[in-house]
Every structure is written in C-alpha cells, then in structure tokens.
Symmetry: C2
Subunit: 468 residues, 2 copies
C-alpha cells in the first residue's frame, strides 16, 4: 500500500470511529506532514483520496473538513461461534448450488460471488506469456510435464516459499487444476468414507461439499471472526472424535476473513503433530495481505510433513487459467498419484507460460497494486454498509482477501434475504451455506472485490432496506 | 488414407499373408493400374512406399519384386477372454504405477506408453489459436465460461456429433480436464461405494483405478479381441450382480483395439436400457478410425439419456491442453455439479482457442493425415513384430487408435518381461495391468503411435528375444 493510501486509511478510520466528527476541520497539510513525518504531497494525495471517497470536503481558502454526512463505522463481530461439538453427515450441497445458480445469472449485482472483479488482474501480460508458451511449445513437454507438473513452475513456487522464509522442496509440490483440486486430492489422500474431519465454524462451502461427496463427517469447531479457530475447542474435538484430518483456512478465512496470529498457527501445528493428524491448509488468499509482510501459513511451522499447503494463482494472478498447487509434505507421492488417476495433468502451455511470467518478474508489482485496491475497497464497502444497513449490524475488517462477514439482527433470516435479493437481481452468500449444521442464519458474506460503483452502491442500499 | 497408401496396404497384406511369396514379381505398373482402376502414378507411389518399408525391391529394367526376407504376418488373437464372472474389489494401482513410472523415465523406448508421438499433432496451429484467445481474452469470460464450459466450444462439439448423424444437445455437454476427468465424474455421479460396475476383460487400467479409488466392485465380462464385449455374458452378469453402471470402450478399445459392430452397440444400449443401467462410454479414440467413415458410438442408439459419452481432444488434436468432455444425457446437471465441487472449471483461454480452431476448419484435414500415418505405422509394427517375436505370437489389427494387443506363448510372464525390458530401457504394458483378476499374464499392449525408426525397431527386436 502506498504511504498516502495508508494515511488516508488512518484518517478514514478516525472519521468512522467518531474521533473526527462531521464538520470538524482536518489538520492543515503542513501540520499533518510534520505530525506524520511524511511529505506535504503525501498529505495532499491522502486528502484528495478522502475527498474522492466523499469522506472529506475542501472549502476554498479554509482547508479540509470531515463531510457532514460521514457516519461512524459499524462495529466488528466480537463473539466466536458456538457449534454443538457433534460430528455430522453433510447435506449442504443443494442449498449451495441454489445460491450459486442465482449468483451466476447474467447482470446480477455480484455481492455473493466468490470471485473478485477479473479486471483487477494483469490478464494481458499473462495472456502474452501463455501465448508465447503455446506458440513455442516443445511437443515433448506434453509428455515430460506430466503430473507432478512443469519443473520450472514448481521451482518458481518453491522460490516464493523461500522468499517467505519457508523451506518447501520442489519435490513435494504438485501442480493442480486450481486450489480446489488440490484440496480435494488432499482430503481423498488422507481419509476414508465415515471418517471425521475437523473444520472451522463457519467454513468454506466447498469444504462441506467435499466432505459430503466423500461420505465424511464434519466436526465444526468454535472459531472467532478475527483470530480464527479456538485451539482449546480443537483439542477437545480431537479427543472426542479422533478425526483423520483437519481442514482449515488459518489466513484470510472464507467467509470470516479471520487470521490466526502466527504463534497460534505454530501451536496448531504442534497440537496436530502430537496426534499425527494431517492439516489440509487452504491458503488461497495468502498473497492478498494488506500488511506489508505476508503472514506465515501454518505450513511454515511443520516439521513432520503433516501440513498439506494448498494455494493457487486464480485469486492472485490468473483467474480462469486453473493453475493451483499443493505442497503436500509426506503425502506428495500419494497426491500426485491421485491426480494421475483423476485428471492426469494440468494444462501444460499455461504452466510454462506462468513459469515464464514469474521468472521475468512483475508479480510483486501487480500484487502491491491489487492489495492496495482491495484494502481501499474494503474501507469503502464497510462505510457504505454502515450507511445502508440497520444500526447494530456488525462487519468484519479482514487484513486480506476480499470478503466481509456480516452479522445482522438475530431476527433476520439470511436465506429469506438471499431469495428476496435474488428477485431484485442482487446476489449474496447467506450464512447457512457455510455450516454443516445450517447455523449463521442471521449472517452473510459480501464480496468487496468489485469497485464500489453506483450499481454496487444501489445493491447495498437495497440489501440494507431488505435487512431492516 | 490416400489411395496409394490403401493400395500399398493391400499389397503388404498379400505379402504378409503369403499370397505374394518372397522373390515373386509384382504386376507391372500398367497392369496394376488397369486391374485396380487407379492411375499409374498411384501405383508408383504405392510401390515406392513398399520399397521404403523394405517389403519390395526394385530391380533395374525388370520391375518390383517381393523382398526375399518378407515373412508372413503373425495371426490375430481369436479367442474371447474367459473371466470367472465374480465381482471383486480392485487392487491394481500399485502395479500400474510401477509400470507407468518405468515408462516415464527419460529416453525409454516408449512401447508401453499411453500417448502417441506428440509430433503427430498440429501443435503449432493449436498454439496460435490458444495464443490468440489468451491475448484477446475478455476478462469476464473467466467467470462466464464456468462449468459446464465455454458455449462456443460446446457448440462445436455438438456440431461434430451432428455431422456424425447424432442428436446431442449442447445442454448435455460438460467440458472437462480431459476424458479421464469426464469418466471419473460419470462414475462418481451414478455409483456409491460397494456398487458393482461391469467392465470389459481386459479393460483400461484407469478404469480399474477409478473403481479402486471409489470402493467399487469390478465385474469383468467376456470380451473378444476383435468384436468387443459379449452381450450374452453381459446379460448374465447383470442378472447375477445387479450392477449400478457399465463402463465400456465399444470402439477402438484400450488395450484390445476391439470395436463392436454397430448392431451390437445398438443391442447393448437396448439391453442396458431395459435394466436402467447407465453406460459410461469411453470413446477417446473415436476420431482415429482408419475406415473412411466414423463408426457410430453406443451413444448414437441412446433414447433414454442413459449413455454418458466421454471423449477428448487429447488423442486427436491437442495433447497437453487437457480439454475433454462428456455428453452426459440425463446426468448432465449432476456431472456439472460434481465438476464444480472438484476442479471448478477447465482452462478458459484454451477452451476459447480450441473453439476458434474448430470454427476455422482444418481439424478434418489434420485427422485424415493422422489416421493415414497411424494406419501405416500399424502395418509396419505388425510386420516388425512378426519378424522379431517367436512364431505363434498373435497380434491384433485394430481398425483405429494406436495400440496392438499381443498374445505370447502361455509360458511367457509379461510382468517378468516388462521388468527385464525396463532394465534395458524399453517400456511395455503387461496384460495384468488391464485386469482386476490379474489375468492376461502372457499378453501385452504395444503402442504404435511413434514412427518405427531404428530405435523402436531395435526395441522390438530386443523384446522379441526376451519373449523367446
């Protein structure tokens, strides 16, 4: 994030939290530059940005003032979920498909979508890299780059782990058709029908669908909307259900946006290792962090090869190209074999093209821009939700990704809300999609991966009215 | 196949079958042209081709003579398999991987490979089509072309069905990561663990691996190496095992090369419909027919939507791009949903690029060349095997594809042969890979999809010595 964006973010927060009141004068540019120890032009840029977002107004010859309509931001959810601790068969797929179906209709306002705007990605540069790989394809690479996949791409992925301070060998990396295939291969590698699998409460609906398809039993574990899964609850669930796997999103959780502090990730890995339980770690939003440093995944603390770290380029670089991977630890060979018998291989020219793109550099430049955009959009959406939704609505502030988790009044039924919104051409993702026990009826997930234009703003306003 | 290739094929057959003896003089060009009702230049080309293959020799001012070393061709296998009729759990994957592993080592003579030479495909033209699609990608297509897949590509696939005289709607077509994913989605859609599934004896090892992975029981049904599965045996197996699905390759079977006559395909579909048993039809070699007309698949006779026709571009056009499909009949929606929860989608730019390639035309021209090449290679390989292998060896003559099925003396153990050959840098596919009951120990599958160069010839000679 650029310095002026960070400054604008701080000021926006002060406004929304009521530290700066509507109509109050902002410090002069010179004052602010001195206080913040930044250049005057950085302050100017920050004020311009806040003005563009409608949070401040300039008065000629007088300075900048907090806009009179600026309202305090909604509060964050504060209480962890309270699942009942039982294990259960999963039967959520019909509901999920009903919601996804309505979200995929043409011209729907995509607040319920799982994808950010495709315009946020350097699809022209990726296109040229893949084009060049396709045109110059060595015919034998169609055979040589068979699963586990193209060596140059696996090397680039291993390098990015190394840059993050992690020791992940190329030999444990298997290229997959997106992270979703990686996750599915992992759960198939370490479970058998009837096994119990620990998941967060709530958790990504595709996790539940995978458990349902594989005849596995879900054990939902208490999870906090900011800090992630509760380790005491996890330990109790292990003792009670003897699970064969744990499938979690410790960083930028979908749908909560929660992230476990690194020390708790380390404790998580230690706890699971003590019970020899494999961790399937879904880390697809890893690169979409707003802090300057990437948070380490649980995989970073793995000494036993028990953590299967799944990620992809679909959310960070190349949507639609379907290239993901897993660093599968001790299960790498088994995962590769499962892939060979189910989809054989991933698109070879795309693997080569992505490897070339990564070798040439530019990924990090793109990521910095993408992160700044998503961070700014989060502020805009949170503010807009604060204005559109009923008082008492709570909204998360994830440190990465592009999902907000919203807690409405307990009287609101998010599935009814979704159906009503769908009639009006607006998609949302209601809470029960994310729970084997169909909890979270008063919650929903909103996607802020699309610019907050007039259409999205109108969509939020309509939703707020429906929720009231 | 060009006219001169067809003529050369006829003459080669006469030589190998002993109708034309070593040293015997061929008809003069003028005589042959008159008898065959072709132009003299066609005869010349045919004689040149036979000379290039070492089957005939020209003597200056005297004409063409059958080469003195030309030997009769090996006979074809004539007896159908005799599986025991039991259903059984499958446990073949370790053997299959051991063999595939040794086949994938560098510089191995790829007689055991599942892939033909990648040099047989128009990878430059496909590369340009995909490159153009990648460079001009509409970002929104990454969302809009979600499973069931890109509409233009599905339309092209539906058109090819139509050209073959079949009525397959775009709505039942789901794009997949190769035919292997299509087949796996289909079996997951119509079975549950413990169900019995009817397969041919022998059958493609990936079929067995899918049954093994899904906890299904295989019922191997008597199959003839030329005409495919025996319908009486199939009916008995239905009565005895109440199978939930039938997974067959009625055309250009892997490994047998067998093809069911169309009338038997019709009877097969009728029989299965009477018992409401879905047919998973693996038809990946459909386009590799040597006859001028494409044989209709079983799907052509389906009136109930019970046939799930799986195919791909990997064997006919674009290896390494991983684009296949299924025309899934009444299960189309279920298959699409399974795909959405396992791999989400297939590579979008590749789908668009293939659609453009197919729209522009050129596929059929490429296919004619490819078929002629494979047909010619089959003759060369059969002749070479006849010379290299012990007398009594039987070899199939499939009407399409690129696999030969070889029956050795019953005393030969193909797994030992495979291990010995692997030590010498030669891969083969031993019979027991293709059988849940580990039958066919004296059989092997050889790939003739690579030109019969000196290296392949030496490989065959070594194999023949090992088998003797």
């Amino acid at each position: 994030m650029k310095r002026y964006e960070s400054l604008a973010g701080d000021i926006a927060r002060s406004i929304h939290e009521g530290l700066l009141k509507p109509g109050q004068r902002l410090p002069s540019v010179r004052q602010a530059a001195a206080t913040r120890q930044v250049s005057p032009s950085t302050v100017f840029q920050a004020y311009y940005l806040l003005e563009a977002r409608g949070l401040v107004q300039s008065r000629p010859r007088s300075g900048y003032y907090v806009a009179t309509h600026a309202r305090p931001l909604p509060l964050e959810p504060e209480t962890a979920s309270r699942p009942d601790g039982e294990s259960r068969d999963v039967d959520v797929s019909e509901l999920v498909f009903e919601v996804l179906q309505s979200a995929m209709a043409l011209n729907v306002v995509p607040l319920g979508s799982a994808f950010p705007s495709p315009l946020l990605f350097p699809l022209d540069r990726i296109g040229r890299a893949v084009a060049s790989a396709a045109v110059h394809l060595d015919p034998w690479s169609t055979v040589d780059d068979l699963t586990p996949g193209n060596a140059a791409l696996r090397r680039q992925i291993a390098l990015r782990y190394q840059m993050a301070g992690m020791d992940v060998g190329i030999d444990e990396i298997v290229i997959t058709n997106g992270a979703l295939e990686a996750l599915n291969l992992c759960v198939a590698a370490v479970t058998r029908p009837g096994d119990a699998v620990l998941v967060e409460s709530p958790c990504f609906y595709a996790t539940l669908q995978a458990l349902e398809r594989n005849g596995l039993r879900a054990v939902e574990v208490q999870t906090h909307p900011r800090d992630g899964i509760d380790l005491d609850a996890l330990e109790m669930a292990i003792a009670r259900h003897a699970p064969r796997a744990c499938w979690l999103m410790p960083t930028f959780h979908n749908p909560l946006g929660s992230s476990m502090p690194e020390e708790r990730k380390r404790a998580l890995v230690t706890l699971l290792a003590r019970h020899a339980i494999p961790l399937i770690e879904d880390d697809v939003y890893a690169e979409l962090h707003y802090a300057s440093q990437r948070a380490l995944p649980a995989k970073a603390f793995d000494r036993e090869g028990l953590v299967m770290h799944c990620s992809s380029f679909s959310k960070s670089l190349a949507p639609g190209y379907r290239i993901g991977w897993v660093a599968a630890g001790r299960e790498a060979r088994k995962v590769a074999r499962l892939k060979l018998t189910t989809t054989l291989n991933s698109n070879v020219p795309t693997q080569i093209g992505l490897a070339h793109y990564l070798e040439r550099g530019g990924f990090d430049r793109h990521l910095r821009r993408l992160r700044a955009t998503l961070a700014a959009q989060q502020q805009q959406y949170v503010a807009a939700i604060g204005e559109a939704f009923p008082p008492g609505t709570r909204v998360t502030r994830p440190a990465g990704g592009y999902f907000l988790w919203i807690e409405l009044d307990h009287g609101v039924d998010a599935i009814q809300l979704q159906r009503a919104a769908s009639q009006l051409g607006i998609s949302i993702a209601p809470g029960p999609m994310f729970s084997a026990s169909r909890g979270f009826r008063h919650c929903l997930r909103l996607n802020y991966g699309h610019p907050l234009d007039a259409r999205m703003q109108a969509g939020l306003a309509t939703l707020g009215r429906l929720a009231a």
